[in-house]
Every structure is written in structure tokens, then in C-alpha cells.
Symmetry: C2
């Protein structure tokens, strides 16, 4: 997902796999819940269930961090919470700026999960002068003219972009120029950034589209239960093609149904 540099060419063993890093927050959340209920230890099986993964994966993941469990017993909850927090860098707190205070920005500003886990909303920034000074989630919105100043003064290295797509790249450029090196992008655009800057994106409509894909698949399946869709697909091969422009003879697949109909322009 990160557009910037490739993470760790894995010089030697110390590199924790990306896939594992992406799951650490999940484990952390589950552990925090256990900790709040004063549960002292937990087995890989139980923790895995709480985090929604399987236990072998969880143990493998933890093995990259070190040997923090006790055989025959499980993991010490408090201790693991601390180790994972440290690994994720959450024992220090990260000032974060949120740029673009529309509904989404406001939702983010008020999101409890931020403040609780090592992140501090250092500033809310919006380009609309009418917003300036208005408090959102208890924090007064500042005008984007001051973006650079805010970032430098607070030593902000993480920025969240919740602006319309049209201005996302220029906001991004300003953030990066001011010293931000990690960006969480909610705008539906591909951001380009220099090497060394990490970008992660969250795209609502992409997630829905992926669901739609699977949903469609289910719908197509429901007539015949098991070893099925194949015959279907194979059969359709020869039938469909609307031809890119010239010839029809070439194409391979072209699953269900017709061609024309929908699709705007």
C-alpha cells in the first residue's frame, strides 16, 4: 500500500514482515481488552480467536518479536501489551494533524481510538475561513495558511488527509515539504511522494467494490451447490465478446451475460 520506498530490503533477520506488522494492532486491541478485564495470561488459541486470526499465524507473528510466551501456559497479557506497543512505537506519542475538516475529518477528530493509542491530535486544519476557530471535538480548527508553521512547531511527522480529492495532492506536497513523513490518505486519489515518505490509503468505495465482487460471485453460485461455476465459465468463453473495436476472434474469457446496456461514459 505504501507508495514510497520499499520497506526494508531485509538486510538481515531483524525485519518484521509487513503482514505481521499489519496484525500487531489487532493483537494489541484484543490484549488491551483482556488487560482491562484483568486477565493475567492468555493462550495463543484464545488470543487468536479474540483477534480473528488462527493460532498458528499468531504464534508465528509473535516469534518475530521474540520468545515472549511461556510453554504450557501462554502469554502474559501485560507484558505482551508492552512489547507490542513498543514494537509499534506507541510508547511515545505521535502528534498528528488532520487536514480537511468535513464530516470525515470531524469523525476522525472525535475518534476515541486515536487519543487512546499513542496518537495526539495536534491540530485540525481546514482551508475554509469560515471554519477557522470553530471547535471540532474540542479542538479549534486552524486555517491552512498556517499549516507549515503548525507542523514545524509541533514536530508533527504524521498527517491525515481528509480533503476532497482535488486538493489532496497539493495538501500532501505541503505536508511533505513541511516535514511530514507519514501520510494517511482518505481522499480517493493516488498520491505521489518522494522516497522515504510512507503513504497508506483508506478508500471507502474500493472496499465496497471488493464486496460487490464477492457478492456477485455468490449470486452466480446459488443455483448449483458445489463443483459448479467452472462449467458455467467455460461454456461462456465462446459466446460473449463485444470486441474491443476490430476483431472478435481473439479474446479469451468473458463470463456471464451480455455486453451492452449500462455503463455511462
Amino acid at each position: 500500500m505504501a507508495t514510497g520506498r520499499t520497506h526494508r530490503p531485509a538486510t538481515r533477520s531483524r525485519g518484521i514482515p509487513e503482514a505481521t506488522v499489519a496484525r500487531l494492532p489487532l493483537y494489541l486491541r484484543a490484549l488491551t481488552a483482556l488487560s482491562e478485564r484483568s486477565v493475567p495470561t492468555v493462550s495463543s488459541e484464545e488470543l487468536a480467536a479474540a483477534a480473528g486470526v488462527n493460532s498458528a499465524k499468531l504464534r508465528k507473528d509473535f516469534s518475530y518479536l521474540g520468545s515472549y510466551g511461556t510453554r504450557g501456559v501462554g502469554y502474559d497479557v501485560e507484558y505482551l501489551v508492552y512489547q507490542i506497543s513498543r514494537e509499534l512505537g506507541l510508547t511515545q506519542d505521535w502528534p498528528v494533524v488532520i487536514v480537511g475538516i468535513g464530516n470525515l475529518g470531524a469523525a476522525l477528530a472525535g475518534y476515541g481510538g486515536f487519543a487512546s493509542r499513542g496518537f495526539r491530535v495536534a491540530a485540525l486544519i481546514d482551508a475554509d475561513p469560515a471554519m477557522t476557530g470553530k471547535p471540532v471535538a474540542g479542538i479549534p480548527v486552524q486555517h491552512s495558511d498556517d499549516l507549515e508553521k503548525i507542523i514545524e512547531e509541533d514536530g508533527v511527522s504524521i498527517g491525515v488527509i481528509a480533503t476532497p480529492a482535488g486538493v489532496a495532492q497539493q495538501v500532501c506536497d505541503r505536508l511533505v515539504a513541511a516535514g511530514v513523513t507519514s501520510i494517511l490518505n482518505f481522499a480517493p486519489t493516488v498520491l505521489s511522494v518522494p522516497d522515504g515518505v510512507d503513504v497508506r490509503k483508506v478508500d471507502l468505495s474500493i472496499e465496497l467494490q471488493i464486496l460487490a465482487f464477492h457478492e456477485q460471485r455468490k449470486a452466480g453460485e446459488e443455483s448449483n451447490a458445489e463443483a459448479d461455476t467452472d462449467a458455467d465459465a467455460e461454456a461462456a468463453v465462446a459466446a460473449v465478446p463485444p470486441a474491443p473495436r476490430g476483431t472478435t476472434g481473439a479474446g479469451r474469457k468473458g463470463p456471464d451475460g451480455d455486453v451492452p446496456a449500462v455503463m455511462p461514459a
Copy 2:
């Protein structure tokens, strides 16, 4: 990510890899932009750049859909838009319900990307009676008592959960019982669902935590280029730890609280 069943044990060739499916929406967006600018054709190189991936990957991805390009030329933009839309199931439109109309729910309701790409917000649902009837993004909020009725009447199969974590599972259960088979979950909880139901989750704080991890890594790197974080980490393991304990001594909660302050390397 999907908690439900495993997607297609790949009985035969018809399965498009998950990783590819996840990128199709990206390509589609880039293509739509080109289409709006009336660009007739595009090469894998150009399109890959616009979508933020590399061209070999893009060609591989497209090869799973069929041979839709023209050698020496590239891809026909309109044609590809259509093919990908069809593959993703966007040529039909999907009614979607959004449950939980706080800031986030409101942001989702107003998100243009939904309506434009085959999704139709069929209903906004909230448990707060004070919200009932209030229009958000032009759509009147309905009370959650009517959830089942709404879903059945509109034939909704995709639900979005934007409620607080505490009620997410029960909302999920009701959605599923009423016939929803795909869920996009914004609440920071692991949902459990029966087989056949897909869940995707979007978690704001997880994304930030992943960024923090890389950010920390960068910070640790900048003094000495190579293996130093190693010694550091190794040392910390031996020195810091509050000991995996042998005496449970009940739980003190405060996660970060009592743990040694080390770390800032």
C-alpha cells in the same frame, strides 16, 4: 480479511486472485479519469503509473480477466472500463444500508464515490430516536427498529456498520439475520459471522499504528545507517521487561503507566 468462508479454494482456473480483485477498483478509477478526459487508449505503463502500481503487475492482473489489450498499442479505455466494471459487478447497482449515523456515518452517506460507482444508499439507520426523520445528505434517517423491514423490502445485501464498537456485533447479527451477506465494518471490533457472509473492515487507528511503526523505524535509522536497531532491541529485551512474571499478583491496568520509560532510543 474476510472473516467468513475462504474464497474459492480455487477449484479450477476461473478464480481471479484476491490481490488482483483488490486492485481492480484502482484501475477502474484511473481509467474513469482517462475516460473523462476522452483519452482513447492507454499503455500498461501509463495506466500503472496513474494507478500507483507497476506495469508488470497490472498486465498480470489484466491477464486474469482476458486478453483485452492490443499489442503495440495498449488498452482501449472505454472497453476496459466496461470489462472491469462488469467483473466487479458494478453494472448492476447495489442498494446499501448504513447503520450508525454519527459523523462517520454522515460522511459515508455524503460520500460521492458511493453513488457514482454502482452503489445506492438505500437507507440510513440509527438507534437514536432524535435522529429519526432528520435528513442527512438528503436522505431521512430511519429508526433501527425498522432495520429488518428495510433490508427485506429493498433487497439489500450490503451493509455498512458505522456504530460504536459496543453495538457493532448485535447490529451485525441483525443485518445478517435479515439477509445481508456482505458487511463493511468501521467499528473497531472483530465481527463474527456465519459462513457465506463476507466482512471487510476499515480501521482508522490500525492504519495509524502501522504508520507509526514505520515512522519509528525511520527515526531509529537516521543516526547510523545499518544494523543498530538490532542491538538496541536486543538490549531492551534483556534489560527493560517487567518480567513475564511468575506471580500473577492480579492485574494493574494502566497499559503504559507503570512500564519503564525506556525506548526513545
